[in-house]
Amino acid sequence: MALTERNEIDQIEIVYGWNIQVRQATIIERDGEFVSRTFHRWVLTPDSDISGQEQKVQDICNAAWTPEVRQAYETFKVEQAQRMKP
């Protein structure tokens, strides 16, 4: 009886243009049969360091974050900052 554990990025979503939602599934199997799955998530934005991300995540970020999207994100951040006191 062998238990194995593997991690895989099983979901990448682009939300409102600049938010890249990533989900990693940790899957436990016994002799190749599914036992359990847990999730870990993160959200990337154009100011995130994506150098440590899997290549497919980097590819989607780089495709989604066009100059126009990056500009829209910067505008969004300024609007948020103006609402909050420094």
Binding site: D10, Q11, V15, Y16, N19, Q21, R23, A25, S36, R37, T38, F39, H40, R41, W42, V43, T45, F76, Q80, A81, R83, M84, K85, P86
Partner: protein, 183 residues
Amino acid sequence: MPAIIDGSVGSQFPTTIGVGNATPSTSGAGITFPATQSASTDANTLDDYEEGTYTVTLTPNGGSMTMDANRQTFQYIKIGKLVIVQGYTRASSVSSPTGVVRFNLPFTSTAGTQFSGYSYNVAVGENLASGVSNGFNCDVSPSSSVSYIYYTAGGASAANWLAVGEKFQSNTNITVTLMYQAA
């Protein structure tokens, strides 16, 4: 025990029901949703359930904070569009933090209409610099993947919102409970 589906008395399932072609979980009894949500536009349809964790980072507007790697995991539950987050985290060291302090969320918040995308939640701080109570607000803005921590003095209007960054010091702890709608 077989499933019983009888329109006259209701239905009974001994184990788990898979919807959206999801493979029913072999653990316990309940409803298994697809791993990838099949979103319904119907306001009366529950179309998603997910439990998980994420790694939280506190970021001040100015200066910096180093997180305690042993207290950096928050957990979430997503029920339909409703996201519930809870956790306890610690800035193990700080370097001249200023301004509001933000932390990341597991899902982007809804844009909403007019101002309905905003939500207002709570956090409790421990081991803070003097001159501040330990009750904070956590604000989630529309279309956002972060929440801002601040506190109020003398009233709830924006004019009384005060930055909390200066109150963080080494080993300041933050306990958070928040709820918001995802996009």
